[in-house]
Symmetry: D2
């Protein structure tokens, strides 16, 4: 049994992780840590766990103290909060998967520029591995510290990777127009987040300045060994879960839609969680699962290829991918605990 | 491995059943039958199953032909459609769980009165066992034919059973005001069912004449060994899943809220899927699970006790309870394939 | 032109009032007062008013200072906050409509018991008129202080008034099961209020102890000249607006459904805003309007009559009825500024 | 009084038109025509009109017969269905506003290519005026036949017009990623349209082949006097109403965000219904109104300008703009009957 601790267990990503680990056959949850709910029964916060989990949430000091009892630490914290605990855990030989942003950006400078906080553990950036499982599997297997990807980057990078790997598109032509369910805004009590302010409305936000932008650019750049600068526009949609990322780029070669479709099929042919779909994907078909559905349309009139990908923002976009990575790090079948389809409707 | 066939596999209850069985460790799905989608790939109808199920939907004739290859037949059909196939399956020694209404009402007359169709297999009514697992476990274990309860009856009977078993309330005082998500209306293309006609609205329907009324009355009557006539009002609420059943009745004894709470705790003390909650239940805490949450309030000013129960209409209210019953019929742990909490949010 | 001031203008009821008054032909809005948004442009809080309202929100001291400039003051404040300003306004000859609860309960004791605050203006209780327009029109016309009804009481009293006026039902048998959209919970940033915690779920709350209970009981008691004690259960439904109030009671006379229907038709025959409908009402048909739709079903099996009424909680249940009352107080046609149907879908 | 008839009055656009005309001070509705609901009371289909409209729906033959009694005919029909009745109405001197697509495309060939039906009244194409009010006001005033714009084109053309008029962007760089509420899919009973299939999901559809594409290209081309070929991707979002159109293009000049903002402010400075907003727009602020909110962001890193516009698809995107055009055609104040803000929440 892998013994795990979770810090930041009461946010939506943390809770999803608890859900997945609680159903995982090779896991023992040693502690649940929460800043906001110290000393509260977890099942009193998330009543779905009534009958399943009887733990009290502990605080960060207790969590540090218990690092000796675990093999695997998950962090699901706001940016800037993972530096210290990660260092301590690694020093004790505990593997770490950080669902937050603190180790995703390879460049300390770029991190500080976009996140507006000082990076206090830049030495760990070399060690950390970007945990987009399908693209980085071999490094993940050997890693001690995983920077688990953001939700938008997961959907967007998976959508664009084949085009960039095979050098099919103009690298300066990329636009990502992404739409997320409202759990993506986190479990924060703010006026903008309340039901009657979100329901029956859609909006774009952080246009041209969302923090997932440099993360997407970095990883796409690594794929094609070039610098990528792109436009990224996220939106909030009145639904609980799901991301649809629609990616536009200009073909620089002569390819039919069928040829591109075949390229994608080949690129992901061994990937259980990635499905290339004939029809354009809808978030409902992946909601509650670790799957990613990708659809392809060639707009022949304009020479643009349009790739749409769907994930569940809390699963493949956060907790599910973290479990997928953990499975790899502990030599388990990558699908363990994740091998179920979306539940409809 | 239990070999199962599912007839009516493309309605919402049928699809939920496929989902559960597909994740069940002791099951092999032998066929999926669908009247509407004969010869279509199941994963083309429900694209969540892309990568999980490659079966074509077969028609009823092929299904009959394959009865020899299965141990267990699930039916999820409109009322009046299960008579023939049930008879044929039972004759071949196949156990049957009918998620529809055809074998729920013990009296042929009452069935015909409420359902307006002729009951053509009245001889099976003696054989059939009402599959409300928690209240009927011993009969279910030995049964060949299960009449799986309706969604509203499951929530309502579980809510009221302790009060009636212990004779705590005036039997003529029962009112059930129940609210369902819109999947409860089925996967039917009708104007009343389309998004913009359901969203941002709530309504009561079939007031005083819903077909689940005699089913609830029959089972509550059996519990207290008396005739029960009650008022039942169902509603449609703009959400995909979930039932909240709020049950009103008048106490005929002196009990405090704490005492009633304790009675419920005792009554269901060995039941994994039933939780008596301190706070009033919300459907989100059971959505996507086989759980039933029950909350209790005594209105001392009026002497009424108000029991609210929540289930997922497609799981504990349909496919989940069917699997729970199948587990019992095949001597499996009752929780097999159902042992997971609701997924939030 | 009636010159009005609004205190509490940035809550949902206040904003709805601004909307209605802004479209009202005989109104000049003199000031908008807001505790939370002092000195902010109203159109920066509610961007729908961009191009329509250029006022800054003022604070309560400025509002008091401007009492001299208005004829009519609307208050949309939390309970316990309306006492002082009401007194000051009345002293200056300004008519007051309080959308809050402070003057609804005739008995100081009952108010304090349910609202847990001291009533500091009990002398005004004799003066104040309960503003359920259809039932109290003549008193409203002559009043200086209107206690505008709560949303649930409006729907519930209108539903039950004919039965009690004509003494058709057992007064001890009344149960009200009411369902509200989430704007009814107010514009408060709390975890329980955020989208992903409300969406796809329904719950009952404040069961047996909601503060609208004594208000409903008081007014129904006045209608039948007797004491009424009833059970009232409110719910939150995942939609922005609307209330459906389903009212159960036991007939004590022999009446057919048609006869009861006719009684209701007669009772409300001169009421433009009340429609007795053949089918059971749905909140969408009144959403965004000042209408109230009432449907009737007799459950002959149990002798219960079930009355369902629908209103828009923010209009007929708050701001619309306030405008209706203002129209009466200023001898305008009662329908002025309110004479439009619900907008679908 | 303008005497109007409406053909196609029971679809969502038709119903919205009835709502607006019913509240319009200078209108008398002479007939409501409906193919699907001939001889049915309009208020039995749309129960919001109970107490407001007592008309029966008539059929097309009766409608033709009554052309003599009207000045103004509105058509809200599927494409290919407006040719004959338009011709007949014009012959009788009745002005026509067609909310459908039949007269929007100037080229018969392009129409037939995208709509796959024969255009049987090509001679009317010269006469018809494209009714995007803000851009075509002078022609509209004198027109007898208005081709009322599609919902996506209205939002998208208003967003892009200033950029193209002033030649600020690379004309080959335009991508429109638009999102619509589900009323945009029409009032059709189909599986894809039902609540549980749309709710909690988002999808792109008709990617690269939506029929609004040539309409947008034509009008933008006329604005800049050049050929425009662009990429247009529509989406369905789980809400009743609203369109958000996010338009991407590449600047070909040096302009700051503030400069572009000022250009937009100037361009629309006399337009009551168009608001240039500091923050990015949200559909809720225009829902239920004839307003269009436009927000601007310059992505300096990529040189792209991102214009987001919001309208209510059924009002400014259909019926509201039709009324705005009618007002012009009859020398009324353009805002008559449309001069109200969005109702929140």
């Amino acid at each position: 049994m892998i013994k795990v601790g979770i810090i930041g267990s009461t946010g939506y990503a943390g809770q999803q992780l608890v859900w997945l680990l609680q159903n995982h056959p090779s896991i023992e949850i040693v502690f649940l840590c929460s800043h906001s709910y110290e000393n509260t029964l977890y099942k009193d916060i998330y009543k779905n766990f009534n009958g399943f989990i009887d733990d009290l949430c502990i605080n960060i000091h207790e969590a540090e103290y218990k690092l000796n009892c675990i093999n695997m630490l998950f962090l699901a914290l706001p940016h800037g909060k993972s530096f210290n605990i990660t260092k301590k855990a690694l020093e004790k030989g505990v593997k770490v998967i950080d669902l937050g942003a603190d180790f995703r950006i390879n460049s300390e400078n770029i991190y500080e520029q976009w996140y507006k906080v000082k990076h206090t553990s830049p030495e760990l950036l070399k060690e950390s591995v970007y945990g987009l499982t399908e693209l980085n599997r071999n490094h993940i297997k050997k890693a001690s510290l995983i920077a688990n990807p953001g939700c938008y980057p997961t959907a967007s990078i998976l959508a664009l990777a084949p085009l960039l790997k095979l050098n099919l598109v103009d690298k300066s032509s990329i636009i990502i127009d992404a739409k997320s369910g409202i759990s993506g805004a986190g479990r924060n009590a703010s006026i903008g987040n309340i039901f009657a302010e979100c329901n029956e409305s859609i909006k774009a936000y952080s246009v041209g300045e969302h923090r997932h932008t440099p993360e997407i650019e970095q990883e796409l750049g690594l794929i094609c060994n070039d610098n990528i600068t792109l436009t990224f526009t996220p939106h909030l949609v009145p639904m609980n879960r799901g991301i649809l990322s629609v990616c536009y780029s200009k073909l620089i070669c002569k390819k039919s839609q069928e040829e591109i479709y075949k390229i994608y099929k080949d690129f992901y042919k061994n990937e259980f969680f990635i499905k290339i779909t004939d029809t354009m994907p809808e978030t409902r078909w992946v909601k509650g699962s670790n799957l990613c559905h990708i659809g392809i349309r060639l707009d022949e009139r304009t020479g643009r290829v349009i790739i749409a990908s769907c994930i569940d923002n809390l699963i493949k976009g956060a907790a599910g991918q973290a479990v997928q990575n953990m499975n790899l790090m502990f030599n388990l079948d990558e699908k363990t605990g994740l091998d179920f389809p979306a539940m409809m409707p």
